[in-house]
Amino acid sequence: MKPDAIEALHALAGEYVLGTLPPEQHAAIAERLSADPALRAAVDAWEARLLPLTELATAQPPSARLWGRIQRSLDELPAPARASQLGWWQRLGLWQGLSAAGLAASLLLAFTLLTTPAPTTRYLVVLVAPSSQAPGWVVQASDSRVIELIPLGRDAVPEGMALQFWTKGEQWQAPVSLGLVKPGEPYRVPLQSLPPLEANQLFELTLEKAGGSPSGLPTGPVKFIGRAVKVI
């Protein structure tokens, strides 16, 4: 803004606060104030500058009935006019709505928690070579129906031989064959015919003749062995 324009702005604001502008111009300025920050700042500055001059008017105690009149007028004020001036954080409706939503959410959560079946226990077995304790395979059971045998490396199996997968629960009479395993390939076993997995259940891979142990029990050397542990 040019200096002349600034001077004109201050002069206009000064006369507005002084009260000497013609009524039409005074009303026009009052109208402009909300949309013109520069003019508003100039007017505010003049209000502050001239305020001490109000001391020159002799104080005059109001009549006894004036306060009663003010109170009656306040009582007649429409209530919504006041409510709309409250900040959003003071609006009762907002907080009522939010707390109702919060209550609904916690009820839904409680219902979900109570009706969802407890998650199945998960087991993990690390099969290690008995001599070196080097891990060779991992058995993972994420649900009660299927276990998964995952190779950690690639084992050499002599010609005419095969790896057979066995398991035996602590209370079982004998191990049960879970089938022949190809070296280096994952293997999935359905468990329908077996009791559920339990902690400390034994798993092993033995070296058998191609086609598997003819007796139905492990006969060859144990290549890898491990016990099931519960995963928390």
């Binding site: 606060v17 001490p52 001059l53 104080a59």
Partner: protein, 224 residues
């Protein structure tokens, strides 16, 4: 109203002069001259500063006693300001009534960044009073020629050189020539229009306008 009613205008002007004199010479008891001796308990007592801003915040929350505290503390002074402009007791009380309703309903819109809470309250009251005399001026359309300019000038500008108030603006006003000084006071304190001041001072309208313009510039520079 300033010169619309001659006798009241004269009375008002004399009050102004008396007041300026009394401001210049402190009373023996050391109390401020605008201490109302009839009600010394609350009026203008500077011992405990009144917290206008907190009062407005409480009003914005719907705290009716806060508004009453403001009324008890400032009502008489606000009425004095309004009475000086409208020159009528009943109208002045109407103004203060309207001002307190407005303070109550608009307290939440008060912005401390724009000025003091006390200034906001006085500004509301003054502008209501100014609007009131503007409306009545339109109705009466008084004739400037009827105003006895010579009478308005009687009493001159004596006492002005002794004048001193507490705020800096009084020091700045002192630096103005007496006539321009009176223009500012008649406008701000009495709510006079250019024409009314011209009649009171017996000066041409154009001169009064120029005095006011120059005085405002000088005041602004002095207060910067």
């Amino acid at each position: 109203m300033c010169s619309g009613r001659r006798n009241e205008g004269r009375l008002s002007r004399h009050l102004a002069i008396d007041h300026l004199r009394s401001l210049a010479s402190p009373r023996p008891d050391g109390r401020g001259t605008w201490h109302d001796s009839r009600k010394p308990h609350s009026l203008n007592s500077p011992a405990v500063p009144f917290d206008f801003q907190r009062c407005l915040q409480a009003c914005a929350q719907g705290d009716r006693p806060a508004l009453q505290a403001l009324y008890d503390h400032e009502g008489a002074r606000l009425l004095g300001v309004a009475r000086r402009i409208v020159q009528d007791d009943a109208t002045a009380e109407d103004i203060v009534h309207d001002a307190f309703i407005r303070i109550w309903t608009r307290a939440a819109s008060f912005d401390p960044a724009r000025g003091s809470a006390r200034g906001w309250i006085y500004s509301i009251t003054r502008h209501l009073a100014l609007n009131s005399i503007r409306a009545s001026r339109r109705e009466t359309e008084f004739d400037d020629v009827e105003v006895d300019a010579a009478l308005a000038m009687r009493g001159g500008l004596d006492g002005m050189d002794l004048w001193s108030g507490s705020a800096k603006i009084y020091r700045c006003l002192e630096q103005l020539q007496p006539a321009p000084q009176r223009c500012i006071l008649h406008a701000y304190v009495d709510g006079c229009s250019h024409a009314e001041i011209a009649s009171l001072l017996g000066a041409p309208l154009g001169t009064v306008k120029a005095w006011i313009k120059r005085s405002l510039k000088a005041l602004r520079e002095c207060l910067e």
